[in-house]
């Protein structure tokens, strides 16, 4: 490892990120991200999809920095609602709800939020260092990848996302195929033929992923919230005043271990394509419960139950950038959106970004750390504001969300067809929820669809149609072997039961 090189790279990164303009973008991203992330019924995916168009007009570095800020902001916003109103903004914060909200009910919302922020910051810092250390060597390895390796790697990521999704695995795999299918809508790059466009010229460039994401996660979510009657049911408002904000010395002492262990777990799962924050948070919680001196306190407001999963969640969110930036393969739905944003900025993600656009890569890494720091500084004083925001009734909130979505979708291409397609995917998203089909693996497959087809085509062209090529090339064989192993483990009845239990708990 060349530390001098690393140091000069980081200096370049901070020089890029620490301009007044970029700091401002970072601040706006974190602020707006948290603002939207706090709103009930909008997870990070929907929030990023909604805010994405706002970054289109910025220069590439600025846009990425703002997006990274939005990403962290929405993640943190999700934890805030989990702790304060027992409403997980995303699946990863389900764990935080258990002890975080219990703490809040005991009048310790302040320390819960503070420890979540501190843990996230620590995890984010470690994650940033890991990216800086392992990004470049990984990218070098990735440069040697051929079509079979890419195809196998993407298969592994997709299957992993299905295995780790909550609910039926069979349905998750079917959703992946559906995503691949929607991904290839548009003009086939090889033959120039229009596929699945139903004669609509607006679909020649394919479905815009903003449309799919907004429909599935924005529009669809509003519908299921309206069905449930959000105001009456899901929201358990906290009436108690949040007075002392800061954790005690003892709080910090018992949280140290969970934060470290959570960070390690998150870093591991985050780096794997397809795995992610949710599984990290669950694993961390299970581990903390096992090693705790008083496991009976868990579920009743144990601070370790907040510190561990929150750190794990954030470390994973951070390390998910590693496969995204070095291999060009997103590890999660949110990363797929970030990848789409890169493409819109005219950057083809992959190992070459690091050498061709070093200021972009290292600037992004530096801004990740700045974004994490800003989260802590910004959120602790603003907790009161977020609580007020949560009191806005849903009947006022959802027309506003709808308006932002409409503007967001329309601003991408100024095309009315995009709006109509959003309605289509919105209704589908609602049906998916009704049929208990998790849409997150689908959006990942949607982004990977064209890439998978292209790599499959190339791999089979080189091998003259011989499918064993995926097993005879060593790296590709390892990826496929891991994929099959994952599937087998998940089919084992014992593991299956445990997995169902883990998601129920």
């Amino acid at each position: 490892m060349d530390f001098e090189q690393l140091f000069s790279n980081l200096v370049l990164g901070f020089q890029t990120a620490v301009s007044l303009q970029n700091l401002l973008y970072c601040f706006i991203g974190v602020f707006v991200g948290t603002l939207v992330g706090v709103l009930p019924g909008i997870g990070p995916l929907a929030a990023i999809a909604m805010l994405l168009p706002a970054t289109f007009n910025l220069p590439p570095v600025g846009a990425l920095i703002m997006l990274a800020g939005i990403y962290y902001g929405t993640q943190y916003g999700g934890s805030t609602t989990a702790i304060l109103v027992n409403l997980p903004g995303e699946s990863a914060s389900v764990v935080t709800c258990m002890d975080g909200h219990a703490m809040a009910k005991n009048g310790r919302a302040g320390p819960a939020l503070a420890i979540a922020a501190v843990g996230s910051f620590f995890a984010g810092t470690v994650g940033t260092i890991l990216i800086a250390l392992f990004g470049p060597p990984l990218a070098e390895v990735a440069l040697k990848f051929g079509a079979p390796e890419y195809f196998s790697l993407m298969s592994m990521g997709l299957i992993a996302s299905a295995v780790l999704a909550s609910g039926s695995m069979l349905k998750a795999i079917a959703m992946i195929f559906l995503g691949l299918l929607f991904g290839i809508v548009g003009t086939d790059v090889n033959s120039g033929m229009s596929r699945f466009t139903f004669g609509m010229s607006g679909l020649a460039d394919g479905l815009s992923f903003v449309v799919v994401a907004m429909g599935l996660f924005g529009f669809g979510e509003i519908l299921s919230n309206l069905e449930k009657g959000q105001d009456a049911a899901g929201r358990e408002l906290l009436t108690k005043k949040i007075d002392h904000l800061y954790p005690t010395f003892n709080d910090l002492k018992v949280s140290m271990g969970p934060i470290m262990r959570g960070t390690a777990i998150g870093a591991f799962f985050g780096t794997l394509p397809g795995a992610g924050p949710t599984i990290s948070a669950f694993s961390s919680y299970a581990l903390e419960k096992k090693v705790a001196k008083h496991p009976e306190e868990f579920g009743k407001g144990a601070i370790q139950g907040v510190a561990g999963p929150e750190s794990a969640n954030n470390a994973a969110a951070q390390c998910a950038f590693i496969p995204t930036l070095t291999l060009g393969i997103p590890g999660s739905g949110t990363m797929a959106l970030m990848l789409g944003a890169l493409t819109i900025q005219g950057i083809a993600p992959g190992p070459q970004v690091m050498t061709q656009r070093p200021e972009l890569f290292w600037g992004l890494i530096a801004s990740m750390w700045i974004g994490n720091a800003m989260l802590v500084i910004l959120n602790l004083p603003l907790i009161g504001l977020w609580v007020k925001l949560l009191r806005v009734p849903y009947r006022i909130l959802f027309p506003a969300i709808l308006t932002f979505m409409a503007i967001g979708v329309y601003s991408v291409n100024n095309l009315d067809l995009d709006i109509y397609m959003t309605v289509f995917f919105g209704l589908m998203g609602y049906v998916f929820v009704k049929l208990k089909c998790e849409p997150a693996p689908m959006i990942l497959a949607f982004v990977l669809g064209p890439l998978m087809e292209e790599n499959l085509r190339r791999a089979l062209l080189i091998s003259r149609g011989d499918p064993t090529v995926f097993f005879t090339r060593p790296i590709s064989a390892v990826f496929l072997g891991l994929t099959i192993l994952m599937l087998i483990i998940m089919i084992l009845p014992a593991v299956r039961k445990k997995r169902e239990l883990a998601y129920k708990e």
């Binding site: 709808l402 409409a406 009315d416 049929l435």
Partner: protein
């Protein structure tokens, strides 16, 4: 045979439908061969996979115990769709202000308790806010009114 899990049975049916449609449409595209994949190759295989997975999922509908699909929220589905589609059509024809106003009112009607005055105020505040943020601030090229 009794359907014990509505969501599995109908979920499977949905995947079968999508798969069959994909295969049907893809028959129009040259299939090619494994070594020279035509534009129909990949979608056909995806369609086949979807049909097979759909059959398997549907079959579990006779075995697994489900919670049932429940009622669909038809009113919000219809109202929000109309509101959104109207916005898409109207923004280029009558401008941002009128398009947003109608969309917000239509969408608000889908909520549990609708209040005329409140919705109108929300619409006005939203339009002014979005105008300041998106049209003034981010310079999105939306026409404000039909006379441009």
């Amino acid at each position: 045979m009794k359907i014990t899990s509505q969501e599995n049975f109908w979920g499977g049916a949905m995947f079968i439908g999508f798969g069959a449609l994909a295969i049907f449409i893809a028959t129009d595209y040259p299939f090619g061969s494994a070594s020279r994949m035509g534009p129909g190759y990949f979608p056909t295989w995806i369609g086949i996979a979807l049909v097979l997975l759909g059959l398997a999922i549907s079959a579990t509908g006779f075995k697994d115990q489900g919670e049932g699909v429940g009622k669909f929220a038809w009113k919000p589905m219809v109202l929000l769709s109309i509101a959104f589609i109207f916005f898409g059509w109207a923004i280029d024809h009558v401008g941002f202000v009128a398009a947003s106003f109608v969309m917000v009112i239509l969408a608000s009607l889908a909520g549990r308790d609708f209040r005329w005055k409140e919705s109108i105020i929300v619409a006005i505040v939203l339009i002014i806010g979005c105008w300041a943020l998106f049209i003034k601030g981010l310079e999105l090229p939306f026409p404000l009114f039909w006379w441009r």
